[in-house]
Assembly symmetry: D2
Homo-oligomer: 357 residues x 4
């Protein structure tokens, strides 16, 4: 990589996990219908401008903030750190990187105390906090569960032009890569990286960015995800289903992608694997492997490759987009010039929809 | 309908259910791998030319015959009738219709006794039998179940040019329609019809015919169907998945369509509803309703509309194809002239993939 | 059998299926909480004395009537018949048997027309009807489903002293036995019998009777049943779980038994097998087979054998109880004199709880 | 606690997770049938004296060693540590505690390198290792999955007389308690403690010890566990099911307990919750809460409380048993003097089976 983010000498903060996403929505009532009435996230508290939501197994104040605003965008990707001292480390780490850093002892959102927000080297608004209000963990409250209950925040997914550059920076921040997608020339199309012991807390998807690709919540079982589709059908909102349900190749999880009323993408996800050992084997997928993104070879709709949400700087302005210079995954796998295989070495192409449209 | 099949004065046979399909395959070993090794159907008996297969809850000799032959085609759609006397009724019924009828006291396949085969008014090879060899119902043999165990033969699906004509004939034969797809001009695109108390024993799909669209086996639960996809992925045979998995609008069942090595289409299906009352409400779907064939609005791949298996006459020759004259469902719902909606009355089109390709 | 119910010369009514149970409850609000708030049955209509409930896939007015009254009991086991003329047949059939018969053109309950109620030879209040108000089949209304949605009424279960006598009468009425439990001396402990193509529309359980053992509703999948247990736990009402969940030997279905606030027993049930062929193999279980009632060998709690609901005569008075003379299933399989085996031929007993209590 | 294990000044090893259990079985062929043929664990390698088994998502050499020997017992509870240096820390930690310590550079089992085994202060044979042979992670090999596939080793469970003493020692070793069971007098009956981010890597169950209560493997979904019961029924081995299936109160997981041919207890477990935050709320259950061990209030069979496997010292001799002095959980919750409630404050007892036996 010709333009790496320099490795700070400072110790990075000890990140526990992705904790919440702070998103701007343009119609709070429409978003409430989507996240609360349809998806069944639990309202911790709300007012006319903000709704704080959590999943059933969560004990911290929120996993998602819906914030009314003029432009649909992401205000923060927020990670919880192990101790209050890790906030000092976050300040040092990003200051050394020359990033804009803002610390607020009272927090940027309700329910959360001392917090650090930064504009990170990739242009994303990252937050770190430790102090947080505990709320009831509703894990045992089956009387409140719906058939598609969301039980955990699982991960973020970010779009950035240069994946190896992002990976280097994230490894300095303490993340470990669990899986990635590459081609035979060594181009990296995406990488998954974790702090907690799942496949990821966030992933870096190659594309024009910084943008937010999706935020993912976990269910207990696959039928919970299928139910969400069934419910959207009953509500005549099946056009909110963008892609899936299906089985990922990467992560081996079962998935579904939805679009909220502003087009923010939400994944519903279940059953990836334990990754907590330091020598956890990294899985590298060939970008031409037609089962990498859907194990069943079902096509990825183009919008999934091209659309994503803007992210904000610390003043609330949309961050400008940098165009990816390397090949796009969609271009190398779909359409006229694209090529994918189901069985490596097959001469015929195996891309399913390509045969028929 | 300008060209109806006349209603016979003879009493039709009292059909219990679709019982088995007799199909010709070109490579018996490849078909065995598909139906036995991958799908896990149970071999009742086999020899170098034929394999007799059944599902886990079946107690009659077979639900599927794989027969080695030069051209992949369907030799018979076979129904079980209530009593031996119903074979006499079948002979009378079809003789009155001027159809070719052949009766064999020793049956056309192993494990089955006195049988009647006909070339029906639509050109399909239909069989009726009552006497059958009982075999072990393996319902309780969980030690033999795989994760995707097929427990019942559920239904057939036939392609025929003139659906109302087929429907009239099938109603004369004692079938009842449970659901259909029509347009605002009264064109019928497909109809589902039953003898047993499920949504169908067979369906008539409008298109160039006579051809066999698919044969469907039932699983107990949805995860069984998802597993079949996972297994095909593991075997690097995901290109055998033609469509789905998904939730049908019609029938409300969960489904998956596979293609066997000869391109015979097999559906895996679970959880439709009870239809056994005589006044069971018929559900009519608008052909433009984007959720009619997939409740989640996921697109139907074109091959699903266009491809189907030839059927044989009683001499084993392929029946000639008659072209459908009315509009095709694919044409009126997909592509340049097509239109579908997710919410009736929406001015914008709701067809998901149409937005993106 | 020394005291058979005589076979009438009259043709029996053509019964389609068990359709609803009419039960008397002593606290309508408490029953509403159980059946509507907890189990999620759908209210078709209600007033201060009655609640009419149905399951999600039902299109007739109701599957259960809760009727306020002084004594918890069953007012009717109601079956739907194929045609209005079958009511005449019911009148003739039971009149010939010397039973008390009452016919009401306007029906005995809301939503149902011309109906016949009888005090049958076993002392049970049986009802037959054909005319019924159609209501919305909510099969596709996934927005209304809870995680434990009940989708069909599956069967009744009745307690009667002399099972072979009951069986003979029910066969005259057109039922067919699918499974039974016997011992080596030919004593029958229970029999399952069907009209629709499932394992049963009702079962006869040997014991002091006439009493109602349970009414059973079906879910789509096993996890739906597990959820009902989880919800009862969350509501601190787990003591309403009497037995299960488990896998039945008989019927091969997955089950759970609950007790409503009056002690009426409700089964939740899923996934038995097709029985619609006239030569469907009858499965006879040995009463000493420890897996007959629970395939996993888990013990049947004694209350399940001993407790049941009274039934009413046509005047609303409780029917007197006749004591069973043959051995009780509990006595021959549980406790000091009881003996069960897991593996036929084992000398040691295999009854699980018996080893430990 | 009057007799605490002293806190060493040495830094404890950084434990990643429970990694494998090394158990002695008396009939290797019978154990192979149970663990491989019935439960479907994957054989990494085997010889005439040992079988090395792993779960589907594992990438280290084994999660279970079956070792042929004269007395059924546990030879080691083995934990993986973060780095080779952590073995030095383990030596120091236990040496300071005065424990017998043995280090073998070549490991105690195949597939594992430098290892430390100790006789810990509670009398358990604990092992620590880092170096390990990587094997194929079979997560994507759905062609090899059975319907009840075991995907991870989840936890151990140990029986020890003095739970607070055990807890203090384990906290010094770096474990954190997630849940426990106490009574109103402050007696602790059991405690669950973790290193990885699940409810536990091991639990301490109050009772005569040191003994091994069980070893637990995880499945993806609940139906996988139900299938194992169904399969045992089909094999006429349902008496290997000791307790369950059910939903735990503690951990909120779905569970099943089996007994292997030597009586070693194996739990099958799925879907507890994330516990990785340092302030993860500890859940304390009242020992009289009838839903603490089974959320549905189903009774715990007495053998589950009383039976457990011996453990070996480093010479292979069985460790002597110390009797628990505090009240037993069984005594205070089951039987003549026992009392449990379903609803706190209810005067009547809520213990289900107690009403009926
Ligand atoms: Ca139980
Ligand atoms: Fe994702
Ligand atoms: Fe079909
Ligand atoms: Fe039942
Ligand atoms: Fe456990």
């Amino acid at each position: 990589n010709s333009n790496p983010v320099p490795t700070p000498t400072a110790t990075p903060p000890d990140i526990l996990r992705c904790a919440y996403m702070d998103i701007v929505v343009t119609d709070l009532a429409a978003s409430r219908e989507f996240y609360v009435d349809i998806l069944g996230l639990v309202v911790t508290e709300e007012n006319e401008n903000e709704i704080y939501l959590r999943s059933f197994e969560e004990f911290i104040h929120h996993n998602l903030v819906l914030r009314k605003g003029p432009v649909a965008a992401v205000a923060a990707f927020s990670y919880r750190v192990r101790s209050p001292e890790d906030l000092d480390r976050a300040v040092e780490f990003y200051t050394e990187l020359g990033c804009r850093v803002e610390r607020r002892a009272e927090g940027f959102t309700k329910g959360i105390g001392d917090s650090v927000r930064v504009e990170d080297p990739l242009g994303f608004p990252y937050e770190f906090f430790h102090d947080v209000e505990h709320v009831e963990r509703l894990a045992w409250r089956y009387d409140l569960y719906g058939p598609g209950a969301l039980v955990r925040l699982d991960h973020f997914n970010q779009v950035t032009p240069d994946v190896p550059r992002a990976r280097g920076y994230m490894e300095d921040l303490g993340f470990r890569v669990t899986e990635d997608i590459q081609d035979e020339d060594g181009v990296t199309y995406a990488a998954w990286m974790r702090r907690k012991s799942t496949v990821h807390d966030t992933a870096m998807t190659g594309g024009n960015g910084p943008r937010m690709h999706h935020v993912a919540f976990a269910t207990h079982e696959k039928h919970n995800i299928l139910y969400i589709c069934d419910k959207l059908g009953a509500l005549r909102k099946s056009d909110l289903i963008e892609r899936g349900p299906g089985r990922h190749g990467v992560s081996n999880a079962f998935y579904l992608y939805l679009l909220d009323p502003d087009g923010h993408r939400v994944e519903i996800y279940t059953q990836d694997y334990y990754t907590g050992d330091p020598d956890n084997p990294v899985v590298t997928w060939d970008v031409h492997d037609n089962q990498r993104r859907d194990w069943w070879g079902n096509p990825v709709v183009p919008s999934w490759y091209t659309e994503a949400s803007p992210v904000l700087d610390l003043d609330g302005n949309v961050q400008p987009i940098v165009v990816r210079e390397e090949p796009s995954e969609m271009a190398v796998t779909v359409g006229a010039d694209g090529f994918s295989y189901t069985r490596e070495g097959d001469v015929e192409k195996g891309f399913k929809l390509g045969d028929t449209l």
